[in-house]
């Protein structure tokens, strides 16, 4: 029993990080109908932004929640700027082109950032600074819950709630939903489409930045290729939940995180990555719209 709870907590903690990144995929898809494969590299760059800003501000020696918040804010801003740059120079010029062109560009941007980061930061892993202290908070029936677990779950939950508020309870969010529904009509009704798309990129990449700081805190190791696998997993999570759906991305991430843990426990770690892509194929074959997606009829 004690093990099952511990497995569940481990799965929840990795799953919530998948969710944070999956949200970025889902939002951009919802608005532009394109998969932003460079999103995982924004996440990777986020980890390095956090690493260097902690070094530069000399915060690594003073772990506390205020340190964490400062680094989170800096990382969110820098990630947003990066994503906006990518949007402005790589995606916006292609907005009127076929979707495939943008998709290929996204893959190109992703590879560019991976190798750019290897040149700038070096290919060897860096050790992420301690932003908060890890302590044992409490033990329930032999299961130890520590600060890291609680912080990761808390921060991801707060950011997801923040996103929910932004999308469903603000004027900007209303605009986002309108643009995702029909950009042409939305612009006729006076919504600034470019600004709305920019906001979507800011929201999505801020969440990726938060995710990267949480991963840095939890695992300590960051490197230029860290985005590849987690990005693919988050993408699977987004498709699983129904791409374009915010609730779907959250649920998809958590389901994927927990099922991966179970596969390692009852199968073997070799099957773990296969599971994610198995899910992807299964979903695309039998319920292409995902758990929360609505089936739409394409007009020919």
């Amino acid at each position: 029993m004690e093990e099952i709870i511990q497995h569940f907590i481990n799965g929840l903690s990795i799953g919530s990080i998948y969710s944070l990144i999956a949200l970025g995929y889902t939002m951009v898809y919802g608005i532009l109908q394109m998969i932003n494969f460079a999103h995982s590299e924004v996440y990777m760059m986020g980890a390095f932004f956090a690493y260097y800003s902690a070094k530069f501000l000399n915060l690594e020696k003073s772990p506390s929640y205020s340190t964490l918040i400062i680094i989170l804010v800096i990382t969110m801003i820098l990630c947003s700027l990066l994503a906006l740059t990518i949007e402005k120079f790589a995606y916006r010029p292609l907005r009127k082109q076929p979707k495939l062109n943008v998709l290929i560009t996204a893959i190109g941007v992703s590879l560019f950032l991976q190798y750019f980061a290897q040149i700038i930061f070096g290919a060897d892993p860096k050790v992420f600074p301690n932003l908060i202290n890890n302590q044992l908070l409490f033990e329930v029936g032999g299961v130890s819950i520590n600060t890291f677990d609680v912080t990761i779950l808390g921060v991801s939950l707060l950011s997801m709630l923040g996103l929910h508020f932004l999308v469903y309870h603000t004027k900007m969010g209303q605009g986002m939903r309108a643009v995702s529904h029909n950009p042409a009509v939305a612009s006729i009704l006076g919504i600034n489409v470019n600004r709305t798309i920019a906001l979507t990129f800011i929201a999505g990449s801020s969440l990726a930045g938060i995710g990267s700081v949480l991963v840095g805190i939890k695992y300590q190791k960051i490197e230029p290729l860290m985005g590849t696998m987690i990005g693919l997993k988050a993408f699977v999570a987004a498709v699983l939940g129904g791409i374009g759906s915010i609730a779907g991305a959250v649920v998809g991430g958590l389901v994927l995180g927990i099922s991966e843990v179970l596969v390692v426990v009852y199968g073997s770690s070799q099957y773990r990555d296969a599971l994610a892509f198995g899910i992807l194929i299964f979903i695309l074959l039998f319920k292409p719209a995902g758990i929360f997606g609505k089936n739409t009829i394409e007009k020919v």
Partner: protein, 376 residues
Amino acid sequence: MRSVHFLKLFFLSLLILSSCTKKEDVILVGEYGSLTGDDATFGISTNKGIKMAFDEINSKGGIKGKKIKLITEDDQGKNEETAKVVTRLITQDKVMALLGEVASSRSIIAAPIAQKNGIPMISPSSTAPEVTEKGDHIFRVCFLDPFQGYVMAKFATENLKAKKAAVLRKNGDTYSEGLANVFAAEFKKFGGEVVADLSYQPKDMDFKTQLTEFKAKKPDVIFIPGYYTDVGMIAQQVKQLEIKVTLLGGDGWDSPKLHEVGKEAINGHYFSNHYTTESTSPIVVEFIKNFKQRYNNEVPDGLAALGYDAAKILADAMTRTKDLTSKNIRDELAKTKDFVGVTGNITINDQRNAVKSAVVVQVENEKRKYVTTVAP
């Protein structure tokens, strides 16, 4: 007029270039290793050891009046880069002998290339048995995985009185799988029980699932034959899950970065290694003194010591040859006997492996505390 100038410059530069590549007065030796990438400290340490050895030899007049020139290539710790850089060293740079790699997986990729081209290759620290089985041009100056697995199984049962052990191996890694298999088999032979044997994937960062499984089985020791970044993270997560257990490992742990990643969570755990900095033998003391002087007070790890020994053994074989050809160097390398190295006395046996003993050390902050020596 300008074109004449250009032609002049062109021929001048050709002249300069050709004088650079003149091979009569230097002996070219190639080295490939992970100077960047996941296991970067392995490559960097080895490189430091090799450079120091060759500089010592060159400052004493070189070999047969010629200086040794080392050409180092970075394989980024990637299997797919290794074949490329090794081929370049042999076919383009035309090196006479090769030194490398630390990671067995990558030595196994390079060995057939060296063998095919008739270039002798010495691996400073690849411990997987397959490496030297690739052909009669492939040598090594370290002990083998079966021996390391045996050493740790013996140490666990005899010194730590462990009854139950768990194994956490890196899937698909020659070094890790080899060590894990031998440890499990030897531990059973010593009367212990292997309660769990799980694997993780390359690039994994979350080991909590496997560790939670271990926690339930209550092992006395967990054997982790991985490299330092993985091990550091595993140690941290062992601590976070509040598992009371001793961690054991092999020479893949030996890096100054082990402590940087693992922090205080790694303290008190044991691994088998090639040499100990606490040794009082004059050659080791001298080596550590010179190394610290040269590299900014850095204490050499086992890989630097092995790199140094590999380079010295190569130079020793070169001195004994009649004339310097790759073939002659190979033949002399095979005859190496009782060579006094930093990592012990090295004799190359007929499988081209070094026969020598291992030490077990305990991690204590950045220090490696000497615990015991196990002879083959």
